[in-house]
Amino acid sequence: MQLIEKLTVLADAAKYDASCASSGAPNRSSKGKSGIGSTNGMGICHSFTPDGRCVALLKILLTNFCLYDCQYCVNRRSSDVPRARFTPEEVVTLTLDFYKRNCISGLFLSSGIIRSADYTMEQLVRVAKLLREEHEFRGYIHLKTIPDADPLLIAEAGRYADRLSVNIELPTESSLIRLAPEKQVRTIKQAMHSIHQGESEARAELRAPRFAPAGQSTQMIIGADATDDSTILHTAASLYGNYRLRRVYYSAFSPIPQSPNTVPFEAPPLLREHRLYQADFLLRGYGFEVGELLSGPGNLALDIDPKLAWALNNREHFPVDLNRAEPAMIARVPGIGVLSAKRLVALRRQKRIRFEDLTRLRCALEKAKPFIVTQDYRPLQASRESLLLRQQLSETPAQMALW
């Protein structure tokens, strides 16, 4: 099989992993050195495909041969897809070639499970080691971690990789048992724990060898089972808390060829994935708790964003006077982000905030208007009922999908 054919198959097999982040790595430079590659903490998206997703890394599987039969996965052993396998050297060649062309900032390597978890992990580590040691590659490396692999292999992976990730795959244990019979929550969490420990040890000692400086992430598939958003967000929050994950990715289940009957034939609305990302962002960056966004079981609203939904349910906190309120409270106003909140606080040291200042800061005024007070503005809608406001502010219903 030609290299280009392998690449076609193994890139197609890897695309269901949503993460393509190349951020969070320490400062590394090749200026004046042999070898190539640099990282500076900021990720770079080198291209975007027509699905709107970014291409920052060469995201491929080492092989899509797999012993597992996870129902949602295109590479499950019962799936009728073309199979291929790269040699470690081929992955190295592709990475360096694309990197020199400035098409990518690094490599995201994953693999189907072949022979055993340890063997598969060894193969992944070998590629990273080749890149780092033989080719002095200083770009970004993200390695997928195989849950049942030996902790020693995970430790070795952490020395070469910037980021490690173990996919939790499904939000509940019962779904995992039903759809991914060979995977176990226990071993997935063990692997997360090993990575977390590696990170803590590297941080604790100044001279300790580095360990996955860009941390670990995971991915949950949305809509392959019936789990609601509340459960999903609680699972995410506990992962953030227990293992200090940098990111939880939500990947709307994408129908696969020859889909088995155990998973749906339809994709969930992409908007659901979007709302989960918005809620996740509120958990990580705005100090919201899951319970504030969803008080009981159920899904996030699709027609309005989760921050607006929270504000409509908690009208007693509004309107917020932008000239007096705490910065954290300003950031909770729909349509005003953390950055705008900071800028407003800086500006109000110089002058009283007026309504036109918000226009200049490019806040989403239609959303913010009912919830704020400025020097020269009080909302007429302050007394209006939440239900009416919601009708007014909800995004126009999307056209039904054709397929």
């Binding site: 280009i4 076609t8 198959v9 890139a11 197609d12 430079s29 090749s30 200026k31 050195k33 070898g35 190539i36 590659g37 640099s38 500076n40 770079i44 080198h46 291209s47 975007f48 495909t49 027509p50 699905d51 709107g52 997703r53 970014c54 291409v55 060469l58 491929i60 092989t63 041969f65 797999c66 012993l67 039969d69 295109v74 052993r77 019962s78 799936s79 009728d80 897809v81 073309p82 199979r83 694309f98 020199k100 062309r101 400035n102 098409c103 022979r115 978890a117 019979p181 709307a252 994408s254 129908p255 060829p257 889909s259 800028r343 110089q350 002058k351 200042d357 200049r360 800061l361 397929w403």
Partner: protein, 292 residues
């Protein structure tokens, strides 16, 4: 009306601006003239001779100078008068002029944001083409068309990225060459550089194009997200640019049902036979990996 001629560089502007502030010339009285502009009909040559020696030294926050220098890279008709107006206001003690919420400050920050974005576009969407191994000159060449004057300040990134590899970037206005140790910046761009960068003898793009087509998920077609993140003006210089419309129309023509790339679905598949119970298969000797 005061005409203020200078060489078009930030350093040149800064010298003249300092003098005008010390002379107390307010912003609305100044017309900035760079070397390429001819003067207005009623301009008269300014009289710097009566610069009062007694004026106190100008005290300007260092951070403001950095902001102004960066904003000066923004290409716009009359890019200098906003900068002088802000400098003037801050010199008078009105520091709000620097803030994003201010009427002038918001313009300044809009320009700063555009400059940062354009530098990021350079880092992201520039594509190098390797040249034949035995060719003289740079090993990698690239042609790029930035919307603002960011090449000089933003191209150092590639020296960090590519180590001792030599490379050349040419644009319609300026160019930069890294010889493995030092950056050589030229404005205007030498025509030899432009020729090298615009006609690369590169035959190795097929792999990248194959990757781009395969990593795209046709079941999630989202044109507007693509265009917001990767402005259409860059497509013509990207090797994958011509592929974009093609992939979009294929996706619309029916492939939206599942995520598989057409190039993969055309091929025959292979189910993996489980030779033993799953527990043993994971740790045991089942060897599907022998199939290459």
């Amino acid at each position: 009306m005061h005409s203020a001629p200078f060489d078009g560089s930030f350093a040149g502007w800064r010298e003249v601006a300092r003098r005008l502030i010390q002379q107390g010339v307010p912003p609305h009285q100044i017309t900035w003239l760079t070397d390429d502009d001819s003067g207005g009909l009623f301009d008269h040559v300014p009289a710097p001779n009566n610069a009062p020696a007694a004026t106190p030294p100008l005290r300007i926050p260092r951070q403001l100078l950095e902001l102004l220098q960066s904003a000066a890279r923004f290409r716009v008709e009359d890019r200098w008068s906003l900068l002088y107006r802000i400098l003037w206001r801050v010199a008078q003690g009105d520091r709000a002029a620097m803030l994003p919420g201010d009427i002038d400050g918001s313009q300044l920050h809009k320009r700063l944001k555009a400059i940062r974005r354009e530098a990021h576009h350079l880092h992201a969407f520039l594509r190098f083409h390797p040249r034949p191994e035995n060719a003289e000159g740079p090993q990698l060449v690239a042609w790029h068309e930035p919307a603002h004057d960011i090449l000089a300040s933003a191209s150092g990134h590639f020296a960090e990225r590519l180590g001792r590899t030599t490379w050349l970037i040419a644009t319609p206005d300026d160019g930069v060459y890294w010889d493995g140790q030092r950056l050589h910046y030229q404005r205007p761009c030498p025509s030899e550089w432009q020729r090298l960068a615009q006609a690369p003898e590169d035959t190795g793009e097929a792999l990248w194009l194959a990757y781009y087509g395969s990593t795209f998920n046709p079941a999630r077609l989202n044109r507007s997200a693509l265009e917001t993140s990767m402005p259409v003006r860059f497509w013509k210089n990207l090797p994958e640019g011509p592929l974009i419309p093609q992939l979009m129309s294929q996706a619309r023509a029916g492939a939206q049902r599942d995520g598989q790339a057409e190039a993969v679905s055309r091929q025959g598949g292979k189910r993996i036979r489980r030779t033993s119970a799953p527990q043993q298969a994971v740790s045991g000797s089942a060897d599907p990996d022998l199939l290459r």
